[in-house]
């Protein structure tokens, strides 16, 4: 590689991101080239300067807000499992009603009669108030 080509690769060389062959070639050049050594020193100073002057910690309040928002989203009014269980109970009750009407008409009629009697009693007592 020429001096100009090596100058373009100094940044990757500084980061240790070159293959071993290129790295050895650049090492040999740098030990003999004052300009490239000075450039590497500047890269090192720049790297320290960036670390020293441009790092920043996230505000603690922001971290807490993210967690609070995430937790709030996790707590719906009804859990999915509760909704599914309630739906299953309703479906089973409906199916039991349909089966009773079809296969046990006498018992179904008795139950219906009891429900009607109870509702009329409730209706009558409500009317007396």
């Amino acid at each position: 590689m020429t001096h100009e080509e090596i100058k373009k690769e100094l940044s990757a060389y500084f980061d240790g991101q070159l293959g071993p062959e290129k790295a050895v070639e650049i090492s040999a050049h740098v030990s003999a080239c004052a300009e490239c050594r000075a450039a590497l020193e500047e890269l090192s100073a720049l790297s320290s300067g960036v670390k020293e002057n441009l790092s920043a910690a996230a505000p603690a309040a922001m971290k807490e807000r993210v967690l609070a928002r995430a937790r709030a989203e996790k707590k719906p009014l009804f859990r999915t499992s509760t909704v599914l269980a309630a739906a299953a109970v309703i479906i089973l009750a409906l199916m039991a009603g349909i089966a009773a009407k079809r296969y046990m008409p006498v018992m179904f009629a008795q139950i219906q009669g009891m429900i009607n009697a109870a509702s009329s009693t409730l209706g009558a007592s409500g009317g007396n108030k």
């Binding site: 890269l43 300067g49 960036v50 002057n53 441009l54 790092s55 910690a57 922001m62 993210v66 967690l67």
Partner: protein, 175 residues
């Protein structure tokens, strides 16, 4: 990984990346918060096909690109752009050396100079530099996080450093 672990491990770098992309603490906080919340929401579906940090930084970058499309923010950014358009390529001079308690002022001036110099880079170059210098990411990791080829990371980082060296020469010589 639990949401708490994710926040603990990556919120500083997500915020730092957001801060250097936006150049503004308020916008950065909004951006990092949105990105981290998205990451927490997406955690159950994260397949682990890359390192979690890279995945989080990718979300920050995507949220930032979405923010750029926001008309309200675009207006303020244009306004800031007009105000800071002068002296784009001029080197930033260090303050006169000051002894004693004024060292603190010198430190602040130094920090300000680095921030000013960084703001003169393209946003993507800033992200590359920050991920490399502050998180020690490999070129391959940065390429994955920014969804660009590794060769582009290498050339853009080299160019960004060259520009910063030019702008901050006065500060680097004293090191």
């Amino acid at each position: 990984m639990s949401p708490e672990e994710l926040i603990e491990k990556y919120s500083d770098m997500a915020y730092c990346l957001a801060l250097r992309l936006t150049g503004n603490a308020v916008e950065a906080e909004d951006l990092a918060e949105e990105a981290l919340l998205r990451a927490v929401r997406g955690l159950p579906g994260f397949r682990g096909d890359c390192e979690p940090g890279i995945w989080v930084y990718r979300i920050v970058m995507n949220c930032w690109k979405n923010q750029l499309r926001s008309p309200r923010l675009a207006f303020w950014r244009r306004l800031r752009g007009f105000a800071s358009a002068d002296g784009e390529e001029q080197a930033i001079d260090p303050p006169d050396p000051a002894p004693g308690p004024e060292n603190q002022l010198e430190g602040e001036a130094r920090r300000e100079a680095f921030e000013k110099a960084l703001s003169r880079l393209e946003p993507q170059d800033r992200a590359i530099l920050i991920l490399r210098e502050l998180d020690g990411r490999s070129y391959n990791d940065i390429a994955e996080a920014l969804s660009i080829p590794e060769g582009t990371v290498r050339s853009r980082l080299s160019r960004a450093r060259e520009k910063l060296r030019g702008l901050l020469r006065g500060f680097l010589e004293g090191k």
